[in-house]
């Protein structure tokens, strides 16, 4: 299956993209995607405790199982206002 990964702010700078398609095994979770990305981007792995995830614009935890065409956003701590 395919998903889209969106990255913002500090995460976007580490990954070097705002959005990218990713091919995954069926049944993959948010945590699986994060694990894959952390192998290539060590700095991202170090940020793990502070990161938040959203699938299709709803916050979720890393156990969330992904479906084909889901949009996974990886978000650093927010600082609006």
């Amino acid at each position: 299956m395919k998903i889209r990964v969106k990255a913002f702010a500090a995460v976007r700078e580490i990954l070097g993209y705002r959005e990218r398609e990713m091919e995954l095994r069926d049944g993959s979770s948010v945590g699986d995607v994060f694990g894959i990305l952390s192998i290539s981007f060590e700095e991202l792995g170090e940020m793990k405790d502070s990161l938040i995830f959203a699938v299709n614009e709803e916050y979720c935890d890393e156990e969330r199982v992904l479906d084909n065409n889901d949009i996974l956003a990886i978000l650093p701590p927010v600082s609006g206002g």
Binding site: K6, A9, A54, E57, Y59, V78, S79, G80, G81
Partner: protein
């Protein structure tokens, strides 16, 4: 009425406030967050906000709907900037109207506190000698 706006343009506060509330509303509370020139013992030259626009709009609306379920308020307005914000400019405008002042004050306070915790918007501070992403915790 709930009105949510995210925009790159400066916020015209007067223009937004004049349409809010009804003849039954005795209170209109507004909060304006502005870009300030000092932070972390450094001189800030300007800010840049990055936004997950579609989700931020959804979250802002969710907060407004929660407020309107919890307090007897009439109108709720939230306007948030993104992109470059100059020192002294408004980055956020929150306004709540209600019959009495207590619920308007409480709602406005709840909205700004919650926006800072849950809405996917990120602030980058620029200084004379560099820049950094900031968060409430840092």
């Amino acid at each position: 009425m709930i009105r949510i706006l995210v925009q790159a343009d400066p916020i015209d506060v007067e223009e937004h406030l004049k349409d809010l509330g009804t003849r039954e509303d005795g209170a209109l509370v507004s909060f304006i967050g502005r870009a300030r020139s000092r932070s972390r013992d450094k001189t800030v030259t300007h800010l840049e906000y990055e936004i997950y626009e579609s989700m931020a709009e959804k979250e802002l609306r969710r907060i407004a709907e929660l407020v309107s379920a919890r307090w007897p308020v009439t109108d709720i307005l939230i306007v948030h900037r993104y992109g470059r914000v100059e020192i002294g400019e408004s980055s956020i405008l929150i306004a709540v109207s209600s019959a009495h002042r207590d619920e308007a004050f409480q709602s406005a306070r709840y909205i700004i506190d919650t926006v800072k915790k849950t809405v996917p918007i990120w602030k980058r501070e620029f200084y004379d000698d560099g820049s950094m992403w900031v968060s409430e915790r840092s």
